[in-house]
């Protein structure tokens, strides 16, 4: 499963990515997890199975939903609490919940 995280510069989400990869390894989940900035997201959207936004860029939700929605890719916002505590496990479970 390809999980794509996006925030303004791709910096703080990259922090979360590291934790999510750890969580995935511990749980034996096979997933590709990447973080990109808002500017890059359109170049990577096709590869994603689910697109998760940092809460600070949730004003982009409508636009990204429209773009990703055409391709049937689910888009959602990461819970602020999990984002703040960089809770890789919770966000991973959240992402896996979108798996068809």
């Amino acid at each position: 499963m390809n999980i794509l995280l996006v925030c303004a510069a791709g910096m703080s989400t990259s922090l979360l990515v590291t934790k999510m990869r750890q969580a995935a390894e511990e749980d034996g989940v096979i997933a590709t997890i990447e973080a990109v900035s808002l500017d890059e997201v359109k170049n990577h959207i096709d590869e994603a199975d689910v697109l998760l936004l940092g809460p600070q860029v949730r004003y982009k939700l409508a636009q990204l939903k429209a773009e990703a929605g055409e391709k049937g890719i689910p888009v959602d916002v990461i819970s602020p609490a999990d984002y703040g505590m960089v809770n890789g496990k919770n966000v991973l479970d959240f992402a896996l919940g979108f798996q068809k």
Partner: protein, 449 residues
Amino acid sequence: MIGFLEKYVLPVAGKIQEQKHLQSVRDGIILAMPLIIVGSFFLIIGNLPIPHYEAFMSGLFGKEWLTKLTYPVGATFDIMSIIIGFGVAYRLAERYKVDALSAGAISLASFLLATPHMTMFTPEGTQKAFEVGGVLPISLMGSKGLFVAMIIAIVSTEIYRWVIQRKLVINMPQGVPPAVAKSFVALIPAFIVITFIWIIRVILEATSLQDIHHVINLVITTPLSFIGGSLWGMLIAILAIQILWSLGLHGDAIIIDSLMAPVLFALMDENRQVFMADHSADLPNIISAPFYSIFMTTGGSGLTIALVLLMLFKARSKQMKQLGRLAVGPSLFNINEPTIFGTPIVMNPLMIIPFILTPVVVLLVTYFSMDLGLVAKPNGVLIPWTTPMFISGFLATGGKVSGIVIQIVNLAVALIIYYPFMRLYDKQKFNEEKGFEQIKSEKDLNHSI
């Protein structure tokens, strides 16, 4: 109150971020950013505050070493308008789903068409300046031409896509290779855009308004730089940014990147030009791009690194201690989403107070220290915003120790402001944790009975 803000601010933030022209302007600046950071690197090397550095370098590389070393500055800072204008047109065309490369090329040609191909030259030993033709005036290719380049990029691309979307193009019969067809598709819109800019230039030349650069400078660049470069302008921007973050929205991306970047960039480059001409000159602007990114957001917006340090060393509650450990690493590189969402500061009336108050006080302290000449102004080099504090203050002021000192002072200010709020909040959390444990142990007790 917060619900009210959330309801009205979110759509406005979205609108600003999704506004095609503002987005494209931001993309244009992003295109130039790495180049300008590279140019800054050469500027910094040329001006290391080491005793006898100048003599040492002259001895090693000859008298012209500084001129040679700063060649890349001429190809980065000095041509930023060409790059940014092209980038704006390209990205805007992309958003309209028309051929971006053609739009970029047309915009570049229009920009150079708007610029008189001449410069003033005063020969040595004379007082009189002569007009010299056959040159592109480098002074207008840099930050001085920035707003002209951006406006022309938007106007030319708007005309370009309008013409194409109205299907006023020469369509090639089937069988013509697509590349050939594409080159003709750009022909009519290019002709209309170029003619339009040409007419404006010819008309302006016939009046006392001289040229497009002069007009845009007068009605747009000067007033915007005045507002954006003022203490009030910065104060309002900072308040807006902190309020947005308090709602959990990326204030910097919305206010700085989308709205203020061009002005702050131009102000930065004004300083850079004065600095390069004379290293000891008094720099014209206090407020510029590095003023904000290096001094106002040290350790993250709201200088939250102070809060993190307090959590790390003073917190009693487990939650605050844990967050302190987690957030300190990113905070050193000025990334503070863990702090903002983890504490949380978002929607937390108690923590929002110091979060908004700190950068306001820091703004006043920094601004007046620079105004009074106690602290060196940023000299116009652009360094990545992720550069850790102290290093960043040193480099952004052109290697002045006062740049470090003001960051220490600001950190102290932030520690003092955050301290009482952090104590109060920590106590709440500590009691919650204790209460929770008590309930738990009572439960355990009940179980064992």
